[in-house]
Structures are given as structure tokens and as C-alpha cells.
Amino acid sequence: MDLEKVFEKCFLCPGLCISKCPIYSITRDRSTAPNIIGRSGYRLIKYGDMEIGRNLLECTGCMRCMRNCPIENPLPEAIRLGRRLIFGGDEYIGEKPSISLGDKLYIYTPREKDENIMEVIEGYGYKVEWINTLKDYIRYSMGIIERYIFNKPFLTDDIEMLTNYGDYIDSLSDIYRKLMEDVETNLNYILHIPCRLDRVKDEVSKLLEDVLGKPIKIIDECTGGGLLYPKYNLNYAKMILANNFKDIHNMVVTLCYHAREFLRDNGIESYTIIDLIGGV
């Protein structure tokens, strides 16, 4: 991919996608808007401007900008590769994960295994395992990660690193047993797919429908951004929640830990999948 060309297109664009960006819609800070991130990427590539290049870290990789772009400019992919320039070079400007060298790291993502990414991370001296099966993906949804095994996110897009995973792996069969027990209860489920999981929406919802044996309603608006970025406008995030969930009286199941907290704050009964099955 010619990164300069991809970023150049955003450089020349007035920002036709900004209203579709879940992060800009929460922050309203223009340095988080996709076209500005593209412009920043251009400066990073062309002038090596690391300071402005940091704007690339604001993206969640949800790909809505690309899907709403008249020329389908693959900005999210360019951002991902652009970040490697920042993270992979000698000058490391991101926050380092608090893990020790030699720890085994688990990358969970719906993407196909990417040897280049593996190589970059292994370059730091970690052992890496790539997990991309759907069942595992659900198991490692944010609820589990936050509560049980997750230490700190390394890169902020679709690559997450898990530590201390060994303690958890034995209990996976229990999770599914409890999930199946819960199907017996008579609840209508609403599945909230947060933006970063948008790519697996269809697959995940079908699997859940199969497991639960009843249709589910999907909501794919981002509700978690306000909490991922708590320094920004929380009121706006609340407004999105109120708009999207106000007519829902049943239980909401979300793959997003942050959304669950927010929903609860707003008096809506809500659980992550792990809550639903009673925890581990």
C-alpha cells in the first residue's frame, strides 16, 4: 500500500466522512476527525512529523470512514501501518505495556494472521500467539479482558495483547456451560456491537442467535467512545445512549464493557456476555 497516496487523498478532502466517525462524534475535537488523521498521516510520511503523527493513535479502526468515502480510501489500514512507523521505530512515542519481556502475549482479532505484525511485536522480545477464531473472539470480549486477564492495551486499534492468560484458559469450558444454562431463561436479547467489532457483526450475531435460539436485535452505534475517551464530552455520549436505547425495556447484552457501565448508569439493565453467564 502506498501510504502517502492514501493520506494524500484525505489531505485533499474536506472531510466527507466526519459525521460517521464514532470517535469524532463523541470528542468533537477535530484532531480526532478522520480527514485530520489522514492529513496528520501525510505529514508523518512526507515530513516525518512524529508530533502531529500522534493523531493516528486516535482511531479505533472501525472502518466507517472508508465505507462512507466516495473513493473508498483505505484510511484505517493506512493508519494501522502508519502506527507501525511510530511504534516500530527506535523512537517509541506510545505508552509501553507494563509486561515483562518473555511474557506470552495473545493477540485477538478477527483478522487473518499477519506475520508482519507478529514480527514487530516479537521484535520487542515477546512470544506471540494469534487468536482469530470466532468463539475465542467472543470469549475474549472486552468484559472478560477487563475483569480477568487484561493488563493494558498495547496498540489501540484491533491488536490487543493479553497477559496472565494461563490462569484463565482452564475455565473456558465453564463459561460455555453457564451460557447454555442461561438460554433456559426467557429473556429477549439485544446485542450491542461496539465499533471496533463492526467487522464481525454478522458472524457474531448469527452465532448468538444460534446459541440463544431466538432472534436478537443488533445495535451498532458506538456508545463506548465517551468512556474510552473520558476526558471528552460525556454528555454527548449519554445523548447517544438515550437515543439508541430509550425504547428498550429488555435486557441489553453488549460486547463492550464501557457500554454496559454507561447503560447501567442510565438505569438500563445491561450485561456483558460474561455477566450473563454468571462470571467465571
Binding site: L12, R28, S40, E51, K231, N233
Partner: protein
């Protein structure tokens, strides 16, 4: 002074809403003014403001303005940044006032069809919100995906459906404005009033010189259930213009109408060959009524052609980046200039501007279309393709020609893009000395300490 200003503002809006890091203020270094866009891409020339402050409500705006007056800090209001004339062109001392967080949809009076929104609402967000409920604003400028309500009002914007629904001045029914020397002025929405000067109307087009728009009451329409497109071709641009005048004379107003000159026709519709394309559409709720109207339009235009030509434009109408990138790859930049003219001189203005601008070194094409129609005349929109290596040299020469020709032939120097930075020096072509004096006096009354954008010729 700036430090004290920032400290005091932080106590009002919190330090999280004040941006001073280079990477964050970079986002506010320009709007969509092509001259600065090409300056950055060709010469790496950027002008940074000193700070960005992003209030969350109108009382915070009021307080910020009060503090700015106290410390004599220059403020530049910034909404969607979709302006094309450098209206936000920052000074290194200036503070950008980002209105993007004033993005509420606060009140919707469905009986009166009026909605109250903040200046930071993106137009397409509002339109989608209304569409879900069966309503529409029908204000469809090309910048719809990224323009914000505050910016649209302050530049007196217009949309592609203007011939049927009017410009933004027709849908603004009330405003809240923070005026530095006066305070927060609130004009409530009414269908019409006759109470001395219409204060809210005075601030439509005020471009951040006289006050800051902090809330707006807008008229909405029911979303039409039917839309019929039509097209008509003539051998020459002027013949199609004459046909459109015939529609106006007979008070038959399509909701949308566009006429391309021969050069834009061959660009957008290469399949029809040399000629001038007219496209349009009518909308409504009753198919029989619309069909009757279409029949009359057909009679006045001497026949209609394929509806597909309208839809072809409609589906790609905001995809500007396609064209801009295409030009860039071919070593070309662009500029667009819109003016308005009476029917009696519009073709004359068109011909002379084309002839004179094409003489400039670097100007490869000069084309135009008419897309906003009135009983007395129209808005004409020129597009120029300019060789990138000559772009920065020829830019202001091009503007000089268009402004001077338009003014000398009785047109207005701006139809809907406003004044911004570029047109400020041409104001004396639009208004006489007394008119300019009045604008200057009003500026002094509203902004005694001159903290907002300056009024300079």
C-alpha cells in the same frame, strides 16, 4: 496576556477543552480554502493559531468572550471548517473558538415545524435525525457532510434545492447570538415580525465579525414522498438560460434546477456530445399534481429528455474528492468562484470572465453552471482548473478579474460563499463608501474591543 486568558477560561470550561498541543491545533490551521490547501501541499506553509478553546454551552461562549475582551485576545469562531474563502485564516496570536461541542438538538415543535439546534450540529446529522422522523431541512449544500449549522448561517449559505426551498435565510426563524459589546441576544422564533430591524436576519452572513451564533431555530419541511427528475439539452448554454427564464416568468419553480455550460456538460455528460445540459427535479406529496407540473415544464422547455441524467448527478453530487484528486494526479488544482447577476447581464458576465481568465498563465479551463434561480436573475458558479506549478502565482489575479468584471457589469461579488479572507478587499466593489461606513460602525457597536475577526479592506 494569553496565559492569563487561558487560566481564566480553564476555570470556566475546564482545561480538557483547551488545546495547546501542536498536534491538536494543527487541525484548526485552515478551513477548505483551496489557496491554503495548495500552500500546505506545495510549500508546506501552515499558519497555526495560538490556542483552541472548545466551549460546551452558550454561557461558556459568553464568558470566554468576556475574558477575551478583558485581555484583548483575538478570537476566530470555527464551526465545520468547510468554508472556502479562508474565513478562519488564523493569526499566530489568535485563539480559535471551536463551536463543535455546541451540538444539541434541543427542542422540536412539530406543530409549528421548527427545530432548535446548536451551531455545532453537522448538517447531515441533523438531516438524518429529521429524516428518521419524516421531516427534512432541505438545505443541501455540497458541504452537507461536514458543514455545521453555525457556519452555514454565518456565511449565508444556500443549498442545491434553493430554487424550491430558498437559502438558509428562508429557514432561520430565530437565533441566539453572543455579541461581545452587548451580551447574549436571543431572538425567539416567529413566522414573521415587524418590529424595527430584524436582528436575527442581520446576523445571517455576519461571518464571525459581529457576533457568535450560539443557537438557531430552523424551519423544517415534511419529507416529500415523490421526486421526479428531468433533463433538457440545448446546443448552447445561453439557450438553456433563456429556457429557465421562461420557467421563472411563468412562476413555475422546480425544486432543483441546474444548467451547465457546454464545457461542464462535456465533462459530466460526455455521452450527449457538445451542448448544454439542464437538469432538475420536482418534489411533493401528490403524484398527479407533480405529473401535471412536469407536463407544464416540458411545454415551457419544448420537451424533456432522460430522467437518468438528473439521477446521475444526484447520486454523486457531494463526491468532490473524486474530482479534486483526479485533477491533482494530473498536476492540476481547482478554484471555484460564485457570483450573482441579473438575467439581463448574466451571459455577458459569463462570457467576459471566461475570456479574461483563460488569458491568465496557468488557467487551463474556465467553466460555469447556474444552480440557483430567482425571478430577477441567478447565481452563477465558475470552476477553474489551474496548473499546480502556477497555482499560487495566478490565484489572486484570477480573483481580481472575476470580482472586477462582475462588479463593473452590475452583479454581486458573492452569491453564497460569503466574504471570508479573500473577498474582504473587494467589499468596496459591492458597497459604496456610505455602505462600508455603516458596516464599520455596526462592527464598532457590536465588537468595541475588536476581538472578533477584523473588518479590514
Amino acid at each position: 496576556m494569553l496565559d492569563k486568558f487561558i487560566d481564566e477560561v480553564a476555570s470556566i470550561i475546564g482545561s480538557r477543552n483547551i488545546y495547546t498541543e501542536k498536534r491538536r491545533i494543527y487541525a484548526y490551521t485552515r478551513d477548505y480554502w483551496p489557496y491554503m490547501l495548495y500552500n500546505e501541499i506545495l510549500k508546506d506553509y501552515i499558519r497555526y493559531p495560538s490556542t483552541v478553546v472548545a466551549p460546551e454551552n452558550e454561557y461558556q461562549v459568553l464568558e470566554i468572550v468576556r475574558i477575551a475582551s478583558k485581555y484583548n485576545i483575538k478570537m476566530i469562531p470555527y464551526a465545520g471548517g468547510s468554508g472556502v474563502l479562508g474565513g478562519i485564516y488564523p493569526d499566530k496570536e489568535a485563539v480559535i473558538l471551536d463551536l463543535g461541542k455546541l451540538n444539541w438538538i434541543r427542542w422540536f415543535d412539530e406543530d409549528s415545524m421548527i427545530i432548535e439546534v446548536g451551531p455545532g450540529v453537522i448538517l447531515i446529522e441533523l438531516e438524518n435525525w429529521l429524516n428518521k422522523r419524516g421531516y427534512t431541512l432541505r438545505h443541501y449544500p455540497q458541504s452537507m457532510p461536514n458543514a455545521m449549522i453555525g457556519g452555514l448561517i454565518s456565511t449565508r449559505s444556500i443549498g442545491q434545492f434553493s430554487t424550491g426551498y430558498g437559502g438558509i435565510e428562508n429557514i432561520v426563524k430565530g437565533l441566539h447570538i453572543v455579541i461581545p459589546s452587548i451580551g447574549l441576544v436571543k431572538i425567539t422564533p416567529t413566522p414573521r415580525r415587524s418590529v424595527l430591524l430584524p436582528i436575527d436576519k442581520m446576523f445571517i452572513g455576519s461571518e464571525g465579525l459581529y457576533g457568535i451564533i450560539t443557537d438557531a431555530y430552523l424551519k423544517v419541511f415534511y419529507e416529500p414522498t415523490y421526486r421526479i427528475g428531468f433533463s433538457h439539452t440545448e446546443k448552447e448554454f445561453k439557450s438553456n438560460v433563456k429556457k429557465s427564464v421562461k420557467l421563472m416568468r411563468n412562476r413555475v419553480y422546480p425544486d432543483l434546477l441546474r444548467i451547465y455550460d457546454e464545457y461542464e456538460t462535456i465533462f459530466y455528460y460526455p455521452d450527449i456530445g457538445w451542448g448544454s445540459m439542464l437538469i432538475g427535479c420536482i418534489e411533493g406529496f401528490n403524484e398527479r399534481y407533480l405529473n401535471a407540473k412536469l407536463e407544464y415544464i416540458s411545454e415551457l422547455l419544448d420537451g424533456l429528455e432522460r430522467e437518468e441524467y438528473f439521477w446521475r448527478w444526484f447520486k454523486t453530487r457531494n463526491d468532490v474528492i473524486k474530482w479534486i484528486y483526479n485533477l491533482y494526479e494530473n498536476g492540476l488544482g481547482f478554484e471555484t468562484i460564485e457570483v450573482s447577476a441579473r438575467w439581463s447581464n448574466i451571459i455577458g458576465i459569463y462570457n467576459i470572465i471566461r475570456e479574461k481568465t483563460l488569458e491568465l498563465n496557468g488557467v487551463e479551463t474556465a467553466t460555469a453552471h447556474i444552480s440557483h434561480f430567482y425571478d430577477t436573475g441567478a447565481g452563477i458558479y465558475f470552476s477553474f482548473m489551474i496548473r499546480l506549478e502556477d497555482y499560487l502565482d495566478v490565484y489572486f489575479k484570477l480573483w481580481d478579474i472575476v470580482m472586477k468584471v462582475t462588479s463593473s457589469m452590475g452583479g454581486s461579488i458573492s452569491h453564497h460563499h460569503g466574504v471570508g479572507f479573500v473577498r474582504m478587499k473587494y467589499l468596496n466593489l459591492e458597497y459604496d463608501v456610505e455602505g462600508l461606513k455603516l458596516l464599520e460602525k455596526i462592527k464598532k457597536v457590536c465588537d468595541e474591543k475588536n476581538i472578533l475577526r477584523e473588518f479590514t479592506l
